[in-house]
C-alpha cells in the first residue's frame, strides 16, 4: 500500500481534540507523527474515570485512542531545561511542529517559532489556540464548548424565536483540525517549491466562524442579525425532523422542488390535506410550516424512521433516520463503509475506533497502529532517532526529564 505522506516527520504537541486530530490524520496517511506528552501534565483526553479497575489510568480513555492512533509517543516533562535540548534535537529532524497551547506556552519552554528556526530553518509550525496567537483577546481561555459560542455557531442553533441552545459536540474542534491540516499541507507544498518554512497562526474561533459566511454577510450587507431558525431552511419545505414510532425516534425529511413535493404527496398516500390550498406551492408551504409539520407527523408516527426512509427514498425524496450512536453502529451504510473498526488495545482489549473519513483510490491511508501508550516510543525516538546512549536515556528517566 502506498502512503501519501511517507517521509514526513511531525513533532506533535497537539492535545485534547482539535490539536490532536491533524497529527492523527497525517499519521494515518503515512507521516511519522511523534506525540510529545508528559505525566507531569496529562493530556486531558488521557484523564477520566477508569473502565477497568478503580484507579485512574492514563491508558484507559477511548476518546484518547480515537484521536491519537497511528502516532508514536514520547514522554518528556517539557518545562525541564534538559527537555528543551532533547526536543530541539527532535525538531531538527522534523518537518512539522503542531501545538495548540495558550499563546505564551511555547515561548516559555523555549520552543516558539523563532527558537525552532534556529535549529531547523525550514520548519513548518502550526499553532492553533482558541483565538489565535495575536490580537487583544488572544489569551482567552477556551474549551470545546466555549469556542463554539465564541465563533457564533451556538447562537445559530435553537428553536425559532427562542433562546440559543448550541451545538453539543466537537464540531468546532473538527473544523479547526481540518483547516489546520489544510494549511499544513499547503505549507508543505510551498516548502517543496521554495525551500521556505512557515509559522501558521490558526484561530480555532475563526476556523468555525468562516463556515457561517452567509449569516455574517446578512449582517454586513443587510444589517440583519440571523438568529436560530430551528430546522427551517430558506428554500425548502417541508424541512424538519419528524417524530416516529418508538421512544425518541425521529426522521429527517427535506423537500426541495415541486416535483419532489408531488412524489412526497404520493408516497404518503395522497391524504386530503396535501391538496389544501395553503400547501399548494412552496411559498404557501413556507408560510404554513407549523400546520404542514403537524400533518406530516401524523403520518410519520405510524412508522419507524427506517420505514419512512425506505418509503420516501423510493419516491426520490431526501429522508434519513436521525441516528443515535447505537443506530449508527448497526446501520448497513455505516457498516459497509467500515466507519467503526475494531482495534486491539493492550489494556482495554478490542475497542471501536472511528475510521478514516476519506476514500482515496490510490493512497487510502489506514489506522496503522493503535494509540500509543504514554512514552511507548521513548527508546526508539531517543535511542534510534537521536542516538542517545542508553545510559543517558536512563539518566534522563531518573531525573524525570523523560517522564
Amino acid at each position: 500500500m502506498v502512503d501519501a505522506l511517507a517521509g514526513i516527520r511531525v513533532t506533535d504537541f497537539g492535545h485534547v481534540l482539535a490539536g490532536a486530530i491533524p497529527g492523527q490524520l497525517m499519521a494515518d496517511m503515512g507521516a511519522e507523527v511523534i506525540k510529545v506528552e508528559t505525566r507531569a501534565r496529562l493530556d486531558y483526553m488521557r484523564r477520566g474515570r477508569p473502565i477497568i479497575g478503580d484507579k485512574p489510568d492514563p491508558e484507559q480513555n477511548p476518546m484518547f485512542h480515537n484521536v491519537n492512533h497511528s502516532k508514536l509517543s514520547i514522554s518528556v516533562d517539557m518545562v525541564q531545561p534538559k527537555a528543551n535540548r532533547l526536543l530541539k534535537e527532535l525538531i531538527k529532524i522534523s518537518d512539522v511542529v503542531i501545538e495548540n497551547f495558550s499563546p505564551a506556552v511555547m515561548g516559555s519552554i523555549g520552543l516558539d517559532y523563532p527558537d525552532l528556526v534556529q535549529v531547523k530553518p525550514d520548519i513548518i509550525m502550526l499553532s492553533m489556540p482558541g483565538a489565535g496567537r495575536h490580537g487583544p483577546r488572544r489569551n482567552v481561555r477556551t474549551v470545546a464548548p466555549t469556542v463554539n459560542s465564541l465563533s457564533g455557531i451556538d447562537y445559530l442553533t435553537g428553536y425559532t424565536g427562542e433562546q440559543p441552545l448550541g451545538i453539543k459536540l466537537i464540531y468546532g474542534d473538527m473544523c479547526s483540525a481540518l483547516h489546520g491540516l489544510f494549511a499544513l499541507l499547503t505549507a508543505l507544498h510551498y516548502r517543496r517549491k521554495t525551500g521556505k518554512g512557515q509559522h501558521i497562526d490558526l484561530s480555532m474561533c475563526e476556523s468555525i466562524t468562516v463556515l457561517m459566511g452567509e449569516a455574517i454577510m446578512d449582517y454586513t450587507m443587510n444589517n440583519r442579525v440571523l438568529s436560530a431558525q430551528g430546522n427551517r431552511h430558506p428554500t425548502m419545505a417541508p424541512h424538519n425532523l419528524y417524530r416516529c414510532q418508538g421512544e425518541d425516534k425521529w426522521v429527517a425529511i427535506a423537500v426541495d422542488t415541486e416535483e419532489e413535493w408531488k412524489s412526497f404527496c404520493q408516497a404518503v398516500g395522497n391524504p386530503e390535506w396535501v391538496n389544501e390550498v395553503r400547501f399548494s406551492d412552496k411559498f404557501k408551504r413556507m408560510n404554513n410550516l407549523d400546520a404542514l409539520d403537524k400533518h406530516i407527523t401524523e403520518w410519520t408516527v405510524n412508522y419507524t424512521p427506517y420505514e419512512v426512509m425506505d418509503i420516501l427514498q423510493k419516491a426520490g425524496v431526501a429522508a434519513t433516520p436521525h441516528m443515535s450512536a447505537a443506530d449508527r453502529f448497526y446501520d448497513p451504510h455505516y457498516q459497509e463503509h467500515k466507519v467503526y473498526v475494531d482495534v486491539e488495545h493492550p489494556i482495554l482489549g478490542s475497542e471501536v475506533i472511528y475510521n478514516q473519513v476519506w476514500k482515496m483510490s490510490e493512497t487510502p491511508g489506514r489506522i496503522r497502529r493503535r494509540a500509543p501508550l504514554m512514552g511507548e516510543h521513548n527508546n526508539y525516538v531517543f535511542g534510534e532517532l537521536l542516538h542517545l546512549p542508553s545510559e543517558e536515556i536512563e539518566q534522563l528517566v531518573e531525573e524525570k526529564v523523560i517522564y
Partner: protein, 424 residues
C-alpha cells in the same frame, strides 16, 4: 497551468499555478473556495443560466436574484466562472479539453452521473493521468444509500450530530446554516492536497471520495465508545451539558443582561481554578453566597457534589450574569483566566475586536452593484503573507470569453454558435 496569483508583497501564493475545475453545487462550494484562497486558479463551471445554488437566500438587500445570493458570494469568491452544458456532446468535448490540463476536478453530482456522461474519474485519468478528482456527496460513492437523495439536514441527522442539540421533548435541532456540507468540502480540500503530495512523487492522480454524512459523523465519534462501554445513549438536554460519565447536568448557555454567555462548572483541572476565581469575582461585587466558599473548587467534582448543590451554585452564578453584559463578562473572564465566552451573534462576531485586529474582514468591490461589500476573509495567518480574497464571486458566464476564446482558442463565431445551441 493555472493563472499565477500574487500576494500583495509580490510573492506567489502557495497554491498558485494549480488549475481547479469546480463543478460542485452548494455541497462543495467551500472546497474550491479554500483552494482558491491559497491562490489556486479555480474555474467554477455552471450549467447555462447558472447554478441552482444561486437561488439560496439570504440575498443582497433581500432582492432574490441569482447574482445576489449571499452564500454564492461567500463561497465562490476567488473563482472565475464559465457556463457549460455537460449533457451536450460539444459541452463534453470542451470539458475534456479543460480537464486534460487541470490539476483538480471537484464535483458533487449524484454518484455515477459523470460516469454516464463519460466524464467520471476512470475516463478523465485516461486523458490526464495526474488529474485529482474530488467528489463530495451526501452519502459517498459506495454503500447501500449512495443513490439516496440527501440534503444538509438529512446528512446531519444521519451523522448523529443533532442527537444532543435541542430540548428533550422537542425535535433535535440543527445549526441554521449548512453544517455537514462545509465540513465535507474542507475534508475534500484536505484530501485533494494529500493526493497532490502523492502525485508529485508518483505522477499519478486519484479519486477522493468524501461523504458529508461521514465527515460530520466524525464529530460524534466519542458517543459510540460511551454507548458501547456504559450502555448509555446521552439524551438531548437543552441548554445543559453532560460529561463523558455524566450523572450531573451542568448549565452551558446562560442569559445575561444583553444576550447569552457560555460557561460550564467543569470539575477539577479543567474548571476548578476558574470556578474559584469566578466565585471571588462574584464576592467582590457582593453577590457570592457563603455556601460557595464551602466548596473546595480545586478538588471540585460535580458528580460528588450532586445535582442539587450544583444547581444551587448555578442559580447564584446565573444571578450574577444577569447583572452584567456579555462584554463585561467576557473581558472580566479573560483578565481572570476564566473559561467564559459570549454567545456571539453574527453582529457580535463582526464587532469582535479580536477578529478586527486579526484582519478577518475584507472589502470586496462589486462594480455591478456599484458598491463594495464586507466579506469574512479566509482565515489563516502565516509568516510573511496570508491567504486572501483575490476577486468577488463570478457573474453567470462572466469568464466565458476569457476561457473559451483566449485560453482554448475558439473564435468569437464558435462561441456565439455554442451559446445559441445552449452549450455555454
Amino acid at each position: 497551468m493555472g493563472k499565477i496569483m500574487e500576494a500583495q508583497d509580490g510573492e506567489q501564493a502557495w497554491l498558485s499555478g494549480y488549475r481547479v475545475l469546480d463543478l460542485t453545487g452548494e455541497m462543495g462550494d467551500m472546497c474550491g473556495w479554500v483552494l482558491g484562497s491559497w491562490g489556486a486558479d479555480v474555474i467554477k463551471i455552471e450549467k447555462p443560466g447558472g447554478e441552482r445554488s444561486r437561488n439560496i437566500g439570504p440575498f443582497y438587500h433581500d432582492i432574490p436574484d441569482p447574482e445576489k445570493s449571499l452564500s454564492w458570494f461567500a463561497y465562490n469568491s476567488n473563482k472565475r466562472g464559465i457556463t457549460l452544458n455537460l449533457e451536450s456532446t460539444d459541452g463534453r468535448a470542451l470539458f475534456r479539453r479543460l480537464a486534460s490540463k487541470a490539476d483538480f476536478v471537484l464535483e458533487s453530482f449524484s454518484p455515477g452521473y459523470l460516469d454516464e456522461l463519460g466524464l467520471g474519474y476512470s475516463s478523465l485519468c485516461q486523458i490526464n493521468q495526474g488529474v485529482i478528482m474530488v467528489s463530495v456527496t451526501p452519502f459517498g460513492q459506495s454503500g447501500p444509500y449512495r443513490d439516496y437523495k440527501g440534503t444538509d439536514l438529512v446528512a446531519s441527522a444521519m451523522s448523529g450530530l443533532l442527537y444532543l442539540s435541542g430540548d428533550p421533548e422537542n425535535p433535535p435541532v440543527k445549526m441554521s446554516s449548512p453544517m455537514a456540507y462545509p465540513l465535507a468540502a474542507v475534508d475534500g480540500a484536505v484530501g485533494a492536497l494529500i493526493a497532490l503530495y502523492h502525485r508529485v512523487l508518483s505522477g499519478e492522480g486519484q479519486h477522493v471520495d468524501v461523504s458529508a454524512q461521514q465527515s460530520l459523523a466524525m464529530c460524534t465519534f466519542n458517543l459510540v465508545p460511551i454507548w458501547l462501554l456504559n450502555g448509555v445513549i446521552i439524551p438531548r438536554m437543552g441548554n445543559y451539558h453532560k460529561g463523558w460519565h455524566g450523572s450531573v447536568l451542568l448549565r452551558k448557555l446562560w442569559p445575561c443582561r444583553d444576550g447569552h454567555v457560555c460557561f460550564i462548572l467543569l470539575g477539577r483541572e479543567t474548571g476548578g481554578t476558574g470556578n474559584r476565581t469566578m466565585v471571588e469575582w462574584m464576592k467582590s461585587e457582593g453577590m457570592a453566597e457563603p455556601f460557595l466558599f464551602e466548596i473546595d473548587w480545586e478538588a471540585f467534582n460535580p458528580r460528588l457534589l450532586g445535582q442539587e448543590r450544583v444547581q444551587q451554585a448555578e442559580e447564584c452564578i446565573g444571578r450574577f450574569f444577569m447583572k452584567h453584559t456579555m462584554k463585561e463578562l467576557y473581558e472580566g473572564a479573560i483578565e481572570r483566566k476564566i473559561g467564559l465566552c459570549p454567545v456571539n451573534s453574527p453582529k457580535g462576531i463582526y464587532e469582535d475586536p479580536q477578529l478586527e485586529a486579526r484582519g478577518c474582514w475584507a472589502t470586496v468591490e462589486h462594480p455591478e452593484l456599484g458598491t463594495s461589500l464586507v466579506y469574512p476573509k479566509p482565515l489563516v495567518k502565516v509568516t510573511g503573507k496570508e491567504c486572501d480574497i483575490w476577486r468577488r464571486a463570478p457573474l453567470i458566464g462572466e469568464h466565458n470569453q476569457e476561457i473559451y476564446e483566449q485560453e482554448l482558442g475558439l473564435s468569437r463565431q464558435d462561441v456565439l454558435c455554442l451559446e445559441e445551441s445552449g452549450v455555454i
